[in-house]
Assembly symmetry: D2
Homo-oligomer: 389 residues x 4
């Protein structure tokens, strides 16, 4: 089995050589002073990326760890919680919230749509018992964005805390933890940062800490415990468990590259790649999955599966014949996805994705206009503002 | 802050160039067929290393994740559990077990001693309500071994399941999951395998799965859930959460090197390194921490702190002046530790540890016989059977 | 300056992750037994790749070193030498040959053509004073192949030695040092092997050694000396100069990958990539540089520059706007080149080259049919026999 | 064959992880603008390290290439040349010089001694026909230094050019190309810079260029040609041959680390390591090779072989039994060598060398006082000014 020639998935995405070198740099003891210095630097860099002055905790597990930890730390029996559901991850958040005994309300929309902030405001106006709003910024499996920039302030105005899954949005679309009044934010390094998947990067506001402190059921003495982390590491300099030294090196390198480029430049890069890709999809005669383009995330393009094809067929053929690894739907619907995350946003990578999708569809019997699609996408690319090369 | 010249800690220990190259190899999508093949291969290799034909699950978090998951999965309210405590990790296991509502009995010994298997047998003879025995094979913080080869069969004879923390023993001392009737075993890759710290490698017997299935409180829909892992991955080929691709590559490389060398050769290598180191410690006029050498783990040498010194002083001085990173006690007692794990067992590494410890003590005012210690340790090294170089 | 996104040059080409890891593996002393073992293994692998049972010498410098060393070692004052010139490297070989005082005859053709073996035979029939025939297999700067499979036997029949520049052909098109009676062959690792540029891999037949021995002017006590190399290394195990340990590791990894895939598979891979690329070039409305396609090397596609464009313009624009690094002509004519060497032959890489060339031409005012070109190239790719993925 | 645990050779020495990562970074086309920028940066860094404002040329081959190129470029038939011989490399320089037809005078001393600058001055006073003085700064095979700081000005006062082999001195002992009036200086990256062996870093003064221009026999159209390099690269931006991209990346990383640390700090580090090592050698009862310690190079310690032992025996045993790779004499005499170059100067590495040498001697029947030697060396190490850790 040859390695893929092109990884255009929706995360883990492929990483830069610099990030890979950092991942492969010598492992050292976690209390080595050089490692401790690295760890502290990384905390500061994550704060810059999430745009927060609050605490940041670096949990040692894929972003799902941070999301579950946040849900179980914030929600408590009987608490009124509003969970916004526009996709698979929003749905999953509901399970965790309910398992704490919280009283979970949900606003759910189709998985090719986004939650209307106005509806959230209206719901909170009439449900003063709500104390916490949970929202997924980018629903990666379906490629949509919820408008957290508006939902955050609405929640704050109604006195609610917010729990935000920004795993696959930060770095690819604007995100402001403090300015948008977001209390707990969970970022995954394997998406737009193009780092390894092994960490959860979590910001916590003072208000969030107060709520977690007051929650007798918040995990304690547990791998899921944010309180242990604060108590032992933030306050006493003892790790609650051994951090994965290699992951920390890799994530720092990924953050460095993002900060050196600048968040604004990175966001623009993601937006341009998405535009190029979507122009090509439409011109090729395929359909975008999202009900309207304004809610499509710049970080991933979901394409509606042509009738008669399965996502497994498409992905297997694209990988076997064209060496391109695409993402499936993870249960969000009949779609396949081309990721635009980190380096896969650069130059011709979106076109490579189009070539693989288009020719695969053709090979599998679906008429597509590959030439027209590529022409249109190349036009879009040529009209981009120059990327920093 | 310059990187350490020598990492002689008790884990994470330093890794081979081959393992580092694997950690830094290209990140791919976790459903890429090349990654899936790797993941399945790794499961097989971990089975070989743990010597089991049972299931192996590869959880995405440091070994503490696997230990907590195992404790919470196996223990249930009211269950009789015998927890053996001879150090910090045994003590910690008790907290998790009790938090499930289990009825936890403990046999506790001093942290420079090991639990007598005969005492375990006697206790089980008189406490038929015990259904689970939890034991730490190598208590890394204090450098001791419990005799799991005997405790496992005793537990089985009494109809008990076993939960074994073999995080820091496997690869450095004999270990046989199936032959010793061990039901859940948790291994950490950052110790004798000299891999990254980001994974828990867990074996589960059929008997253990049956007990977990019957435990209504076993974690479900959680990062801590072994049941999710079985249901989704082992049975359906869906990952319950994204594995850290880099860690998987790194751990496979570490396993490959261990299996190519052979477990027996690796164990001998660890035993010889420990003997060299301890010969030097004694000849230098310092004292071993363990109450008797038979229970000292081949994977780490704990040295009693000379009167008047703190472990922070010793470790800071050794690192600053001699570039050597040693381990402290993690609360197990007044000791410092030289790790013998993976490559740090090879050739002159134990001597480097002795030089750093000895000269640091001398610099801090403790009279030690460095020359005599090194001579004796070199004699021991010279009398070793040749290591494969 | 961002690194290139795609390196589709005619060498150095981009390398696999495995080759890069080998290049970055720990440097050791050149008389370390582990390095000596590597060096000897590499000699054997190069023999397999060149298909020779003769000697192989691994000179420490880019392939030009080996070519010059071979020319100065074989040619002597007054010797009759036939130099075949169909491009820049053939031309350059003439300078070295003449500087030795040899009596150099040349058959020269246009740089978009190849030398006719029949003409060579005819020339040798009528010039019995010729003792050495020098020929370039792949003229990389212009993308053409000379028919060394026929020229070698013709030379041998006429009692001539052969000096073959196979720097950029081996691995991408059939090559047989012994079967074709080739006496000195010089291969560069940075082409179809996709390794580092720092070595010359040279085969030497017994007949060639005899001629060099008899040449009083053959370099001795020199970095250019093949005789030193034989005397000191092949016969006495002393390196005439320190080999670059890193390069040796990198080249061995490159050879391993080629041998594991198999030479025949690798050649097919190069041929298919070239066919895909050329189909696209023509369908796009651009012109191939070579006067006829049979003589085009599978390892590089030379495209005639559209009127009004310079190669610097095209390459600069493609690199700046599309992140693709192409090769220029190195003085061979008005052309630009897309390399198909090593990994750049795989899957969609030739298409990426077409996209960059096509859109760059369009951006610079040349009408090209990008869509039609890509459609045709994708058709060709889809009809390929599956590559091993 | 396991890789060495410790490489304490006199070059190639082991490299830092950062240098290795650079060596393993993606290969790109040599005319890629990112590579061109790197190449130009490296020229500037080499100037800083050699302390020159003159030209620097980066030849693609081990330092012997640069040395031979310099000798053949500067010396011409009938030219009066004074070659200073205090070891193997000085001797070898004589062969190259004589092969040009120059009239070579030599001042030769025993290979455990250095050339007296006063003798050089006296010789030049009485031999006004001398136009060029060739001198080796550090004779690596025997571990001695010639006083180039004095010889350079003496040569200039007498109107002579200088050709300096500073391959193994720069970075480990003071060196000033311009201040000392040195015309052509050849540095190897695999010594105190701890980089790869594949390049020659050569400085050339205007006076040297003038002499080379005037030399009708200076290599032209050759891999050995400095004139080609100036003509094509320095003046026209065309590489005379493809540079090894990987080596350039590796050497730049090595230079960066040296410049970031500072030349003075690096020199002090080498001097301290040598002092520690030599203290131990003597205290162990072995003998230093050099006739007096003032002329011993800080970059390598040569130890006289005890009677009855061969260097092959010692090195083989040390490598097989203790995993330590030492250097032999390369024909300079009955000695073995411990290198102090780059990272092998740090912290306990010199002690590791002493352990391997001492115990090997003991194992082979030579009485040595290992304990006393290590005690003394550790005392010396403890009295060092702190190295930057």
């Amino acid at each position: 089995m040859h390695n893929p020639d092109f990884t255009l998935s929706a995360g883990p995405t492929f990483a830069s050589a610099r990030t890979l070198a950092a991942l492969g740099s010598p492992i050292m003891y976690h209390y080595d002073p050089a490692f401790l210095a690295t760890f502290h630097r990384l905390e500061g860099k994550v704060k810059q990326i999430l745009r927060t002055n609050g605490d940041v905790i670096l949990m040692q597990g894929e972003a799902v760890l941070g999301l579950e930890a946040a849900a179980r730390s914030l929600a408590r029996p009987g608490m009124g919680v509003l969970n916004l559901v526009s996709g698979v991850f929003g749905k999953g958040m509901g399970y965790w919230l309910r398992s704490t005994g919280a009283n979970v309300h949900e606003i759910e929309v189709a998985y090719n749509d986004a939650v209307d902030p106005g509806v959230v405001a209206g719901y909170l106006d009439t449900h003063s018992e709500i104390e916490l709003v949970a929202v997924v910024h980018c629903e990666t499996p379906s490629g949509t964005l919820n408008d957290v920039a508006r939902i955050g302030p609405i929640a704050r105005e109604h006195g609610c805390l917010t729990l935000v899954d920004c795993v696959a949005s930060v770095g690819g679309t604007p995100f402001e933890a403090d300015a948008w009044h977001l209390d707990v934010c969970v970022l995954g390094p394997q998406k737009c940062l193009a780092g390894p998947a092994g960490m959860s990067l979590v910001s916590v506001s003072e208000r969030a800490w107060a709520a977690i402190d007051d929650n007798p059921q918040a995990p304690r003495s547990s791998y899921l415990s944010m309180l242990d982390y604060r108590e032992q590491w933030l306050r006493c300099g003892k790790f609650p468990f051994t951090p994965s030294v290699s992951d920390v090196f890799g994530v720092e390198a990924a953050c460095d590259q993002l900060l050196e480029e600048g968040l604004d430049a990175s966001i623009k890069r993601h937006e341009q790649a998405a535009r190029v890709c979507r122009t090509g999809v439409v011109a090729m005669g395929l359909q975008l999955w999202t009900c309207r383009e304004e809610i499509a995330s710049p970080t991933v393009t979901a394409i509606a599966l042509p009738a008669g094809l399965t996502d497994v067929e498409v992905r297997t053929h694209a990988r076997e014949r064209y060496g391109v690894m695409l993402s499936g739907s993870q249960g969000a619907g009949d779609l396949i996805r081309i990721g635009h995350m980190g380096p896969s946003t650069r130059s011709l990578y979106p076109i490579v994705g189009l070539l693989a999708v288009g020719r695969t569809c053709a090979d599998l019997g679906v008429p597509v206009q590959i030439g027209a699609g590529i022409e249109a996408a190349m036009d879009a690319l040529a009209s981009n503002q120059p990327v920093a090369t």
